[in-house]
Amino acid sequence: MLFNSVDFILFFPVVTILFFLLPKRVRNLFLLAASLYFYMCWKAKYILLIGFSILVTYLAALLMAFFEKKGKNKLRGWVLAGAILSNLAVLFFFKYYNFFVENLAALSQNRLLLPLFNYALPVGISFYTFQALGYAIDVYRKDIAAEKNLITYALFISFYPQLVAGPIERSTNLMPQIKQGTHFSFENMRAGLLLMGWGMFQKLVIADRLALFVDTVYQDYAQMDGAYLILATILFALQIYCDFGSYSNIARGAAQVMGYRLMVNFNVPYFSKSFAEYWSRWHISLSTWFQDYIFEPVVWRMKNKKVAAYLAVLLVFFVSGFWHGASWTYVIWGLLHAFFRVSEMALRHPKKKLYKKLKINTKSSLFGALQTIWVFLCVCFTFVFFRADSVGQAFGILRRIGSSTHFGALFSADFFRYGLDEKDFTVAVIALVVLVAADWLVYKKKDIYHWVVTKPLAARWVLYWVLIFSSVIFGVYGPSYDAAPFIYFQF
């Protein structure tokens, strides 16, 4: 069930109303059932995989708690290792096995041919697996006590707003809320619905509209002028931000209406002035997961902290690339980010000295703007690999950009032949202006929500209607367009 579907528009209010009407003691059970139904709308049988992940980590946590009482710490480690390996094994078979087989065959020049595993990739498997593993590690580290109530724990893993595309929640944040229960609050409802409305706008009006152009240009990249490929790549950066950001906003909004607070997943990343800042603003739930469960343990265990940090960055981005998909394009994307991040770390002091020597005012707005543009362009460059269907295509696109770029081509009448007609283009431009303005205000720490809700009633309602009707009328959905699933569902 897609968030941008009529099914969800019916599902959400029905589930929310029933949730608040039911007695508190059965709400978690009801929400668990609704969440499982939500997931089963894709492929009912894959519910077994979530069930496996839930049961394994639930029992592992209880066992770790049991061994802790008995003072058998070594056994706790083995239990954790078992939980991690069994979960990763499922993830490997469904997501990476075929990739492994194909590469093995290529490396052995087709001498090692293993049978392929022909099952569709379960939606959201990387998200819920990481969430379950995070919980098991938290229990091992004694950051949280093992949960005894299976319903509470199962709901923590399968909570429908964030089940298929995050945010990857921490047990320390969501689990206590589930245990404690929530109550209806008008403020939560309003704030949640507004967040969902903004998410729908990002998805339907911006992301899916930009996709019309990006998909057309990338599909026919060999015939395209480099200027179109550059523009398509920049627009893809905005598309994926709005696509994934919208999912997170709708998920957070839906949860907030029911009284749950999920973590912020995107915090205006394209205004970042450095890669460190970028990764503290982009897909925050995954970045902090890697920070907590890979980066810090690696650095903590090594003596040379500087080298350890470089190695840990490399490892994190390598894993992050693989996490996104079983393809070398994602791995290269991850390694490029590692390169930028490590360079930034290594050049930090030399750059400081250089700026001082050249008397560059690093606090000026212009310098800040140049830093933002630099980071954004580098991120766009990495997205060529992220968006391309293969490494060959990515290099083909870069070659085309290098050899045949004429920016004048963007102003020819042909521009409107590539997915966006004049009217769609106009809507896209207006919507992007709205997006940039809103993000700028957020970046400047202005509270847009407070600004909206303190307006007089009539003005408030008009703003709500503008948000709703701009998505309803200008949204890219319905039989005239191919419905686009959220990009991050595939991960």
Binding site: S5, V6, D7, F186, M189, D421, K423, D424, L457, W461, Y464, W465, I468, F469, V472, I473, F474, G475, Y477, G478, P479, S480, Y481
Partner: protein, 481 residues
């Protein structure tokens, strides 16, 4: 108190928002419908509804029933209509009118065995299910189409907002003002076509029976039960087309079905077609549809049957008799127009145009040297012009205008414009749409003010001296009106 204010405010906001969404959906909805005549006629004035596919649209002329039988009739058709759609059309006809008789064309029973593939039928049916007003019949039709069609679609695709929200790109005043309930159709759902295309007469014969697609049978049963319940006389027919062997077997099954239910069945395919004296060389527009001549034969045959079965209908009993008489006169004009559209001599053609003030001819000539005939005609039209090798003109018995290189004319008798383009692409643009094109330097569009529609594009070939005609068929006429 504050809490209740918030709850009431939220509910009020939700209700207003839903109402606005409903209004937006209706505003953006394409309200053009093949049922316009059914909706626009005064309730109680329609005695008979003929339900079916485009075969009905092209094969039955309701005006003839009025003149011959005193029965006011209308065609309630949609393209490639399967039987479940027919069921909802009949329900809708019974809701908005009070007919005594329903004639059902059974082509929809051949679903899955016809010359149109089921997926194509589903697609066309899906696009046409919106012909019904937004009500329970509409919802029933989309629910059923989703359930029983072979090319299943998500129900979301049938809803107005997903389907029509992109129409913001083509906003025009008609979206606000068009109301099918005020759009009378003097041809009563008949799709006029003069065009003849010779066909090979099918000669499949079989005594075997083939059971139609299960949902067709289910919905035929429902139609029979509905008509019984509403005390409406049901008559089956099968309008001629180029059927295949399977369809003959289905036709045999339908004959048994009709006999079993004591419903008259006038099938015009197979051996039964002989009594029509149908000429496969001249009476078809294409392999699926009759032209005017074929439609006249079928309608007259049905009329004779109805005369015997319902001898008591009188025109004067109908509250809308005067309007229906006017409609019939317009239909006669259709027959009259047939004469000019069959003319092969350009001079004679221009004479006929200038003899009838109802006709207007928009013509363009860019290089063809048909000086004599054209100059004479222009002279008769009051335009003294010696060199006719490059001009555009609007010819009419009462007033004519012309230009050498450009001219703007009103689009027929309605708002809009006619433009002429010279050069490599000689064209006549009607409201920016190129008129039906024939490759020639001399071409013209004939408009009939009495029928309120363009009739045809003509072109003249100097070398052979032939005048070719290409008619504006019903399916595209909406663009130019």
């Amino acid at each position: 108190m504050e809490k209740y204010k918030k709850i009431i405010g939220s509910l009020l906001f939700a209700v207003i928002t839903l109402a606005m969404l409903y209004g937006t959906a209706n505003l953006l909805r394409d309200r053009e419908t093949t049922l316009a005549d059914l909706y626009s006629e005064e309730k109680g004035s329609i005695d008979m509804v003929i339900v079916g596919s485009s075969h009905v649209n092209n094969g039955i002329i309701p005006n003839i029933f009025w003149e011959e039988n005193g029965i006011s009739a209308t065609n309630a058709y949609s393209w490639a209509q399967p039987t479940w759609t027919a069921y909802y059309y009949i329900r809708e006809a019974l809701r908005v009118q009070d007919p005594d008789i329903v004639i059902l064309d059974l082509y929809g029973m051949t679903y899955g065995n016809s010359y149109i593939m089921p997926e194509e039928i589903d697609r066309i049916n899906y696009e046409n299910s919106f012909n019904i007003d937004m009500n329970l019949n509409f919802l029933g039709l989309i629910h059923t189409s989703e359930k029983v069609g072979l090319d299943l679609r998500s129900y979301e695709d049938f809803l107005n907002l997903p389907r029509y929200h992109t129409r913001w790109k083509d906003l025009d005043l008609k979206m606000l003002t068009y109301d099918p309930h005020n759009d009378r159709d003097f041809l009563k759902g008949y799709g006029l076509s003069y065009q003849a295309a010779a066909q090979q007469q099918p000669d499949y014969q079989s005594d075997e029976r083939m059971v139609p697609y299960e949902f067709c049978v289910e919905y035929l049963d429902k139609i029979v039960a509905l008509c019984e319940k509403k005390d409406v006389d049901l008559i089956f027919t099968m309008i001629p087309y180029l059927y295949n062997e399977a369809e003959v077997k289905i036709d045999n099954w339908l004959e048994d079905y009709a006999r079993q239910h004591e419903i008259p069945y006038l099938s015009y395919i197979g051996e039964e077609a002989q009594e029509l004296d149908l000429d496969y060389q001249t009476d078809f527009r294409d392999n699926g549809h009759l032209n005017l001549y074929g439609a006249q034969k079928v309608t007259m045959n049905l009329s004779a049957f109805l005369k015997e079965r319902y001898p008591d209908y009188r025109k004067e009993d109908n509250p809308c008799a005067a309007l229906l008489d006017e409609d019939y006169l317009k239909y006669q004009r259709v027959l009259q127009a047939n004469k000019i559209m069959a003319e092969s001599d350009l001079g004679q053609y221009l004479d006929q145009v200038l003899a009838d003030s109802g006709y207007t001819l928009y013509l363009i000539n860019d290089g063809s040297a048909l000086t004599d005939q054209l100059a004479q005609a222009l002279e008769r039209a009051g335009i003294g012009q010696e060199d006719c090798t490059r001009l555009c003109a609007r010819l009419n018995a009462s007033s004519s205008t012309f230009g050498q290189t450009s001219m703007e004319a009103e689009l027929f008798d309605r708002a809009g414009s006619v433009q002429f383009t010279f050069g490599d692409n000689v064209q006549i643009l009607l409201n920016d749409y190129p008129a039906i094109s024939i490759d020639s330097n001399f071409k013209a569009v004939l408009y009939d003010a009495i029928l309120g529609r363009p009739l045809e594009t003509i072109a003249y070939d100097e070398s052979s001296g032939t005048l070719s005609h290409k008619e504006f068929s019903t399916d595209i006429i909406g663009l130019f009106q």
